[in-house]
Point group: C2
Chain length 429, copies 2
């Protein structure tokens, strides 16, 4: 018995958590982590997931993923959202809130956790970096690996971010379809269609809409990027010329578009936990402006969560990469790595080829990758051939979920709680 | 030669036009009409399509569909929108605008048109009925057949309307996906998701969202129907109880929801060509109300055209029925019918079976089918089992379009104009 326990203690458990806004494929990463850990049972014990992200670690609210069937874990590959719950919660620096880090160590020690897999974007990479330094600063042996995820596609080093390709595909498909619709109606009715998409600071998602315009005259005719200052007159002239030429005008607008005073066109005034402004509703603002100044009848859509949850039209490339980074994260852990992130490296455009490489987490955290200037056309309203060459492979392929009674059959896990071992509760501020 | 011409004249041409708001499958009906006419070349000459609907007939702007390849016509089956252009234009009564009807006859006579296929909703059925009476009133031999189409599902007699099933599927899939997303975020962030859908007077589309809620606690938790007067306090209490119970609340709201004064919650103030109020933006109104009164963080989406153009997630049953009514319309014409509409008759719920029957157009025009009262739960916030049994088969099956480079390959026809034969132009008011 004693030997068995010793052996079990030597074999460390893993902690996995999802952080920030979820995506259509973050669960595919979870699937990659868990399935790969299960294949290495001789070296990794259980995978404990944080219920609602890192908060689950702080409050010792852990989920025992070993209670889930192989079939349900496999179903994560085609289930959108965060199966264990996510959170918007950024750990402060070690100096500012040492108690939080000490608590993490306490929970990890109580559950014999030696691997920390954190699945998130830029803010989460920063948290993961801090945790990766704990073995040095607080003397607890822990390997922290960041698993990249963000629809914003703004992480550095990696060629692209899992989660982005599927939003990109949704946006390109949607504006193509809506473009066809408006073209039909334009003669006597709607001439303008405005679709608002996500992307606070970087225009990656808006740019993806541009993929739908493969031929002269195709929708979208105008893309409004956060990188380009919104100039009303120039914009209206472009709208008018599109209507004159094509009979209609389809527009993709990023929620992050600003005027020359630096204000968001539609500032809601509220802020999220990371201090970012919560946006929404720039589409009606742009549509109304066109109506007031040019008199065209309009329709507008705000895709919001629909775009990042749209697993039904996920990009196959994206699903595969999301799984691959999860798998690679576990392999890196097994190779003894700490403070790294599996990154995607493109090795060929045509045919599209990629591989997973190792990125130093200190070079990832707190760096936001913007769109290169040469990805936007000179007039500021569309994407260049260079941008298209970059984006196109990321939306490639379909990966349909199974359906029953006309609806996709996404899995809801049992999410069985791990028995708490610590007596004192911890309150997350 | 003379005999050949006489033979050609005896073989009448057909006119086909798309009317009103387009759908994901109206082109599947066009495909059914054209392919069936082509199979009966011995009896039907060419199919001329009206460019931009009935306006194309009035202005003698006809499209010669015989110039399109069999392959391109087949591609209409999976191409959303109206391939020949649609319009929002309602013919007045014969007494009020005799000139329009005389012009139609003039154009039809000039192009030897003996069959009139009008593909639209309730207003279009009325136009089609008026045209069907022309052979009697103006002495021109013409058979007018209405081909049903409307996302609103509000035509009488037919069990359901082609176009509706695909919107229904889009809405059910979308709210399921967004529901999963919000559930992940609810602990520390968004607790409320509001999705606005179409449906001015009838709540069919909103009801379809209810299909996603298969099990206790599933999204959507609340549906706001145009049939149910919006009561703020009752609604807020329901939102709060959902958040208390499930941690979050996903809401589907119809654009047509009204308060007890009979006003739309979000009245834009503009009206379309049929005199209907143009709506939009009730989702942000509902979301803000919840924020103000209950303090929950929210997200909202307005699907707008995306829902009715979403051919990528069309219902297979819907595509098949859309094709079938197009095919049946031609067959009815060949059987000598006039003033009829192919209608869908459900013969079995489980398994779902249906057939095409003939409906008298005079019983279709100007009758709006509302949701039966027993389709809405007593509290007014969800659908009943009866409603589910009706709706479920309509979203059944997937019918994916072909993809290339990650995007659906929809067809754009050549739309070659038929040479004009009349000298005087006609101005549409």
């Amino acid at each position: 018995m004693a030997t068995k326990l010793a052996k079990k203690m030597a074999k460390k458990n893993a902690f996995y958590a999802q952080s920030g806004g979820v995506t259509a494929v973050i669960n595919a990463s979870a699937c990659g982590v868990i399935e790969t850990a299960r294949k290495n049972k001789d070296r990794i014990g259980k995978v404990y997931a944080g219920r609602n992200g890192i908060i689950g670690a702080l409050t010792e609210d852990l989920i025992d993923t070993s209670k889930e069937s192989a079939r349900d874990i496999a179903a994560l590959r085609y289930t959108p959202s965060g199966a264990f719950g996510s959170c918007r919660y950024k750990l402060k620096g070690l100096e500012e809130n040492r108690a939080e880090y000490e608590r993490l160590i306490e929970v990890f020690a109580a559950h014999n956790i030696g691997y920390f897999f954190y699945n998130g974007g830029g803010d989460s990479a920063d948290t993961c970096l801090k945790v990766s330094q704990l073995s040095q600063t607080l003397g607890y042996p822990l390997q922290a690996i960041h698993v990249p995820k963000t629809v914003d596609n703004d992480l550095p080093i990696t060629d692209n971010c899992p989660g982005f390709g599927s939003v990109a595909k949704y946006v390109a498909v949607s504006i193509r379809e809506a473009g066809f619709d408006v073209a039909s109606m334009a003669k006597t009715s709607t001439k303008i269609f405005v679709m608002e998409v996500m992307g606070r600071h970087a225009g990656w998602i808006a740019a993806a809409g541009g993929l739908a315009a493969e031929n002269e005259g195709d929708a979208p005719h105008i893309i409004l990027f956060p990188e380009v200052v919104f100039e009303e007159e120039k914009f209206l002239a472009k709208v008018k010329s599109s209507v004159d030429k094509n009979g209609y005008c389809a527009i993709v607008v990023s929620e992050g578009v600003r005027n020359k005073e630096g204000q968001f066109l539609a500032e809601a005034g509220t802020r999220d936990a990371f201090g970012h402004a919560q946006l929404g509703g720039v589409a009606p603002v742009v549509a109304q402006l066109i109506k007031d100044k040019l008199g065209y009848k309009y329709h507008w859509a705000v895709a919001d969560y629909l775009q990042r949850a749209a697993r039904h039209i996920a990009s196959k490339a994206d699903v595969e990469q999301a799984y691959a980074v999860g798998k690679a994260a576990v392999e890196m852990a097994l190779a003894g790595k700490n403070s790294v992130m599996p990154a995607i490296k493109r090795t060929s455009d045509k045919p599209y080829r990629w591989k997973i490489v190792e990125a130093d987490l200190s070079k990832v955290a707190n760096v936001e990758k913007m769109m290169p200037a040469n990805f936007i056309t000179k007039d500021g309203f569309h994407i260049t051939a260079k941008c298209r060459a970059y984006l196109q492979p990321l939306i490639q392929g379909e990966d349909y979920p199974p359906y029953k009674k006309g609806l996709p059959q996404y899995v809801t896990l049992k999410n069985v709680a791990v028995k708490k071992k610590l007596e004192k509760p911890f309150t997350v501020k």
